[in-house]
């Protein structure tokens, strides 16, 4: 716990040094902010749930980054074609294995642990992309609708109502089944984009058909994702914009854009940050659910949800180990983000943060 606190303070110090290098005097001007950040780091290191979540997330991120590079089995080699013994080989204890991997194989005879290394990358990238695109879109529309009010507000809010009333999964299914063809054409037109995206997902460029499916899942999820953010942000903007300091800013003639970005946005950001952390968990599961239903990438891409859906055909006699393994991985990833989010909610709320600090000092 102490170690994590020290590490975080080091990072904050390093950041302030960097800012000082760019614009001298930054750290003395923002000393109160830096102190607050350090308090947050202290509160974080005191919360067991948060540290556990943070560790899980760190492990997931590291595996996702290096996974495809260190995987000892390429996903495009169908081993069971040449060696039928490997078809859905159950897990085994080393002496009796005779060449089969420890955790068993899938229906192509591939080691499921090696496959999950690719799966981690795909899951993490897609959930990050969804949240990083969906949240700003929602924040922007929420800011606009909360600040402007009137007709703009009415239009945006009715739009979010429509999206929220409709079951999200079904909406995403609709979009994910519509989009791949168009995206495929786009990828064919721009080989550079294709190569970059396949690198991002850890796939081979020649599988751009699967890439198109992944990207359409991503877009479909973004479309379903933004309304939640728009609602939350609008709610907070409505309360913040009546506060005296906004009125003061208006009186001294600061432009509307600057008020929105510099004065309102930072004040509504902390609930959004918490929501984003939780949503990374939801997005991971949501993407897995979509590919479980058959809307994501197809063979041979080892996407976590897709692997489960394939194994489900032979469930439970031959493939219980595949379902169990990939299911637990999904649980692990999502649990990490959720634990982190739960801790962040306490830390970013000034009232509960003070309580944590107070308890810490008493010890």
């Amino acid at each position: 716990m102490r170690l994590i606190y020290k590490l975080l303070t080091k990072i904050i110090d390093g950041y302030s040094l960097l800012r000082d290098r760019i614009s001298p005097g930054w750290s003395s001007k923002n000393s109160s902010r830096l102190r607050e950040w350090k308090l947050m780091a202290y509160a974080f290191s005191k919360s067991r749930i948060g540290v556990l979540g943070g560790l899980i997330v760190a492990v997931v991120i590291v595996i996702a980054i290096i996974g495809p590079a260190i995987s000892w089995e390429p996903y495009w080699v169908y081993k069971s074609v040449t060696d039928p013994r490997l078809w859905l080989h159950p897990p085994c204890v080393p002496p009796s294995c005779s060449g089969a991997p420890l955790f068993g194989t899938d229906e192509w005879g591939r080691d499921i642990v090696a496959m999950s290394l690719y799966g981690f990358r795909i899951s993490l990238v897609i959930s990050l992309l969804v949240v990083l695109l969906g949240a700003p879109l929602g924040i922007f529309l929420g800011l606009l609708s909360g600040y402007r009010g009137g007709l703009v507000d009415e239009v945006i809010m009715r739009l979010t109502d429509i999206f929220i009333a409709f079951p999200g999964l079904i909406l995403a299914i609709a979009f994910a089944s519509v989009l791949p063809r168009r995206i495929r054409e786009l990828l064919e037109a721009f080989p550079a984009l294709r190569d970059f995206l396949s690198f991002l997902f850890g796939l081979r460029p020649q599988e751009y058909g699967q890439l198109a499916a992944l990207i359409s899942v991503w877009f479909a999820m973004v479309i379903v994702w933004w309304p939640g953010y728009a609602r939350i942000v609008r709610g907070s903007v409505l309360s913040v914009k009546e506060l005296p300091f906004i009125e003061a800013a208006k009186l001294i003639g600061i432009s509307e854009r600057k008020i929105l970005i510099k004065h309102i946005l930072p004040n509504v950001l902390s609930p959004v940050l918490v929501m984003m952390t939780f949503d990374l968990a939801t997005a991971t599961l949501f993407a897995a659910a979509l590919s479980f239903l058959g809307l994501g990438p197809q063979e041979p891409v080892p996407e976590l949800g897709f692997m489960i859906s394939k194994a489900a055909t032979y469930f439970p006699e031959r493939s219980w180990h595949v379902v169990l393994y990939f299911g637990t991985l999904l649980l692990f990833i999502a649990l990490g983000w959720n634990l982190l989010g739960d801790a962040l909610r306490d830390i970013l709320d000034p009232r509960t943060r003070r309580a944590i600090e107070f308890r810490g000092e008493g010890e």
């Binding site: 079904i170 519509v178 168009r182 659910a289 489960i308 439970p316 999904l330 999502a334």
Partner: protein, 329 residues
């Protein structure tokens, strides 16, 4: 909006409906005429809406009225939703109350972790876990199939609109849900069978959201307990049970909201649960319709979802007023 989605599906849907291989130009033309696919989009839109409201919309793949098809599937979804909801309430509320009583103890921590795990576990994985535990190893449950009341009972319910004026229609609609139909005929063993068959998906649905409900019950109960009227109630020397009763009633408002949203969600079909357990409900219907570009079904189901959403919100609002007499509209 549904129309925009449906419209942007590439390809010629009429071809898919008539069948690629037996493509008969005349049949293709006839289907196009029927659904006005040659007309501009606003005319098509007007056509679909008017057909929908007059209840004449036809499913092009099975050549049946869409509402017949939906009302065949919807009762099954309602049944699943009721079983799931029962588990949700049975798991969520007692756990929440327990966590509030034993605040900051191991029980409270357990509920917190339970809620987190519940929201971290993908639905389909939990279903397979439960199948593995309950079906394969302990075989305490049966899979597949929605038990129906007897044939005489079903025909009696179907003829209700003729025998009883006015409310007959309403009664027969309720009776079309197999569980309620059996109940109305007094066939209790069918009701029992329903629970036996659906308890696995129901339990799964309950476990997934139960922790979340428990957290909300706990937080709102703690809020209510720290308010002044509770202090007053304690000062008056009421028994502990009475004090808790007061708090519980006031803590119900946020709980009812969340439960309402959950029930609405269950009613619009649990796509994944229906797929894993092979239940022919709304989720399956919708999924098939989308993958086959079956516009009429998509549009009619969306219409139904919108009605459900509005109705659930209305019921929740009415419940507010029942729980808390201070709320008046």
């Amino acid at each position: 909006m549904t129309y925009i989605i449906a419209y942007s599906i590439p390809g010629d849907p009429t071809r898919a409906w008539v069948g690629e291989k037996l493509l008969n130009p005349e049949a293709l033309q006839r289907v196009r005429e029927k659904y006005k696919f040659n007309a501009p989009w606003y005319e098509q839109f007007a056509f679909f809406v008017s057909q929908l409201l007059s209840g004449n919309l036809e499913d092009p793949i099975r050549n049946r009225n869409v509402f017949d098809e939906i009302f065949e599937r919807f009762p099954i979804t309602v049944e699943l939703a009721i079983v799931g909801f029962t588990f949700l309430v049975a798991i969520g509320i007692p756990l929440g109350v327990l966590a509030a009583i034993k605040k900051d103890t191991a029980v409270d921590f357990f509920v917190r972790v339970f809620a987190l795990v519940g929201s971290s576990l993908p639905a389909f994985v939990l279903y397979y876990y439960l199948i593995l535990i309950l079906f394969v190893y302990t075989s305490t449950t049966q899979l597949a199939g929605i038990p129906m009341p007897s044939a005489s009972c079903r025909s009696a319910i179907a003829s209700l609109p003729q025998t009883i004026p006015y409310i007959g229609n309403f009664l027969s609609a309720i009776g079309s849900v197999p569980m309620f139909g059996a109940l109305m005929c007094g066939e209790l063993e069918v009701v029992g069978e329903t629970f036996r068959r659906l308890y696995l998906p129901g339990l799964a649905l309950g476990l997934l959201n139960g922790g979340f409900i428990a957290r909300i019950v706990r937080n709102s109960l703690l809020d209510a307990l720290s308010s002044e009227y509770i202090l007053y109630a304690k000062a008056r020397g009421l028994s502990k049970l009475r004090v808790w009763g007061h708090a519980f009633k006031n803590a119900l408002i946020p709980v009812v909201t969340v439960l309402g949203i959950n029930f609405g969600g269950l009613l619009s079909g649990a796509v994944i649960a229906e797929r894993v357990f092979n239940i022919p409900g709304m989720g399956r219907l919708m999924y098939e319709a989308i993958t086959r570009a079956n516009f009429p079904i998509i549009i009619a189901s969306t219409f139904l979802f919108a009605i459900i959403y509005v109705t659930v919100n209305l019921v929740v609002d009415i419940l507010y007023a029942v729980i808390d007499p201070r709320i008046r509209y």
